[in-house]
Amino acid sequence: MKKLLFLSVIFILVFGLVGCGNDQSANQNADDGNSNSTSNTTSEGGSSPKSGGSLIVAVSGDPDVMNPLYANDRVTLTIQQSLFAPLYRMNNGQKEYVLAESFTPSEDNLTYTLKLKDNLKWHDGEKITADDVIFTMESILDEKQNSSSRSNYIFKGKPLTMKKVDELTVQFILPQVSAAFEGILLDFYPIPKHVFENETDLSQSEKNQHPIGSGPFKFKEYKPGEYVMLERFDDYFAGKPYLDSIIYRIAKDPNAANIALQNGEINMRMVDPQDYQKLNDTGKFNMVTFPEGRLFFMAFNMNTEIMSKKEVRQAIAHALNKDEMIATAYISSEFADPAASVFTPDTLYQTNDVKTYEYDQAKAKELLAAAGVTGNEKIRIAYANNNKVATSLSLYTQQKLQEIGLTVELIALDPNAYSTKIFDKNAKDFEITFGGYIMGEEPDAYKSLFQSDADYNYARYKNPQLDALWEDAAVETDPAKRADLYKQIQQTIGEDVPYLPIAYPKAVIAVDKKFGGLEEAKPIPIAMFEDLSKIYVK
């Protein structure tokens, strides 16, 4: 999931789509007080699951390439969730095995032994074996195949190596200890060797047009611009899914898609908080509201002289009221929780024991005075003009900073010009910007935002001690010590505030009430539900 992209976050209109939030319970109904309108508990009407029927899920466009080696966009990841199975998943910090029977590190943490379940089948009936796992990993590591996952398996310039033990067992041998390895392998979806073996370019292979997967649903039909249809895979190891088929239907315009949802042309869609009330009032939908594992933040450009002063950043943090910001950007606190740590609550070792900055204008002014800021300096806020959340928060911030005596200029940019500007590591022509990310459960992924030379270091934040902490935490295999290192990291960032965490937004999925099993299917970021095989027609 960490594959997910700020990129999308940054330039895409989709921004409003998501929410964040922090409750540990994955599936929290937004209005608990009104249970008959939104609840989706297991005891729905006492009806027991039955087989049959189909579910039409709205997606916003065509999938890029239906091959896990290249799945980076929201649509492809959503379809992949049903089409391919991973080795294991993580559930509240516990491994839940899927294709794997077991996955165990050696004493020295350099060798991980993967044992596959026996009698697993690809959708074409062939057996899933260690050879498929090895083939997949070799393809990812092959420089000619352009898989974006490759960097995950390169450790200090050296790739991991593999050894086939028997038909179902593979050893992964790491060149150095990596505490993040188990987390990284969450994104590993084997592809069938017997299908792709002789292809020179896997991304351009014709085989991607009718993928052979390993998940609970198999590929049936793809009509470009219209839909992707999957049907039940009867030999799925965890049991036959209830639904006969799932159709991922392309609905590009959100307003038209909401009407299609109400008409029954679509049964499930991720919706904006703005549309919550309208759709909920129809009484036709379960509105599944859950934390999306996203952080929305303000970034200070520390290339600029004024933002290189810690007091100024802290002063700005004191000048803003997070509750007001959430009301401004997310309509109500139902759709976002105020954020403290730069880690989202679903990330391992996340802690709220970090320095927070209560709303206090007097203190803000004091800090500005201490930093020698006179108020004549101009603060420029850059944002993409198609990003509704950033736009409203820029206006809010302008007003609040003027109240503490700063001069603020807003720079609204077209999305491409904006992304060029924020990726420019030497940019000095703005002081503040906004951004968001979904990084997933593995805390190591976050370092691409915080290390001094990291590509996504929007704050141009340079702290050698912190850089070292990230490196230490990546190789620390003792969970208690690792937790402590990540706590130090979060606290250092909390003190230095290169980024000011604002909110953990929540996502809302509207699902037609005729479908049950939503809680068992488990709502997750991006792909909407973890396991659609648990969903049934009531």
Partner: protein, 316 residues
């Protein structure tokens, strides 16, 4: 005649060449990068650069252009940078949907605009003329996305008569089902086109009505109806042919906004997606096909001219 056609087609070659250079430059100089669709936060800079190199995107623009041009000339339109599928296949599978929608809306708008335009001109400044002119002004100025959503709201949600998105009901394979899905987008496009055409036809008819030959026909005792449909129509068709010729590239290029709102699986929605992801092989292919159709459309218009109006028949 054949000589003229060949000459015109040869003249089009430098034009197409020029269009390809300008479009290529525009795509490449705009901020943004197709490699972004490969990049994930945990990728190393070396891997990003290697992918850029593998795709040939690290070369100077003119090298990339020449490489593209050589491939095009040998009939190779390449692969999409996003879906990694052959560009020609992607275009071929979108063409029928766009052709059907654009063709039917073009036909419908001519069927609406010609009689209404003639009739409005014949009754210049009458109540009918004013009403039609008023409606056509609305048609020209109304934001298309708003009008499309309004129709979806009314006909799909409130009246529940027509589907709101897509080209067919999943699992249903009938022509009637496709037509039902096409009605709303076709109406949206036809309303706007007809409004434009109508204004051309009306003003042209008005100027024709003042011509001497019209007065003579009246003097010979022709009725207004005979004059309009037998004599004026032929002359009024000239601007209509021009418009028709200019509409031909749309039959291929599709309608960006309308197709996107209705999730119509045509070239327009493919174009929008490609532009947002900087997928230049696809953008260039669509641009070149549309340009070629523009050239052909103009040629067809010229040939039709000479059929309708012997005065401009080419000599030789």
């Amino acid at each position: 005649m054949i000589k003229v056609i060949v000459k015109r087609l040869l003249q089009a070659i430098p034009l197409l060449f020029f269009i390809s250079i300008v479009s290529f430059l525009l795509i490449k100089l705009a901020p943004g990068d197709p490699v972004q669709s490969f990049v994930t936060p945990d990728m190393s800079q070396e891997d990003v650069e290697r992918i850029r190199h593998n795709l040939g995107l690290d070369q100077p623009i003119y090298v990339q252009y020449v490489r593209w041009l050589i491939n095009i000339l040998s009939g190779d339109f390449g692969y999409s940078l996003i879906s990694h599928r052959p560009v020609l296949t992607m275009i071929a599978e979108r063409l029928p949907a766009t052709f059907g929608l654009m063709g039917s809306s073009l036909l419908l708008s001519l069927l609406i605009a010609i009689p209404l335009g003639l009739y409005a001109a014949a009754n210049k400044n009458g109540w009918f003329d004013r009403l039609i002119s008023g409606i056509s002004y609305v048609g020209i100025s109304i934001p298309i996305f708003w009008f499309a959503l309004l129709l979806i709201y009314l006909f799909s949600l409130k009246l529940n008569l027509l589907p709101s998105i897509g080209m067919r009901t999943i699992g249903v394979n009938s022509a009637w089902d496709v037509i039902k899905h096409g009605i709303l987008p076709c109406l949206v496009l036809a309303f706007q086109n007809a409004s434009v055409y109508l204004r051309y036809i009306r003003s042209n008819t008005i100027s024709q009505l003042e011509e001497d030959y019209v007065q003579i026909q009246y003097a010979f005792g022709s009725t207004k109806r005979e004059v309009l449909f037998h004599h004026i129509l032929r002359n009024v068709l000239l601007p209509v042919i021009t418009i028709f010729g200019l509409s031909i590239p749309n039959l291929i290029g599709g309608a960006f906004i309308t197709e996107t709102i209705f999730s119509w699986p045509g070239m327009g929605s493919l174009g929008v997606t490609s532009i947002f992801s900087f997928d230049y092989p696809v953008i260039m292919a669509i641009t070149m096909f549309s340009s070629l159709m523009l050239v052909i459309g103009n040629l067809i218009a010229d040939i039709l001219y000479s059929i309708v109006d012997p005065r401009i028949r080419p000599k030789g």
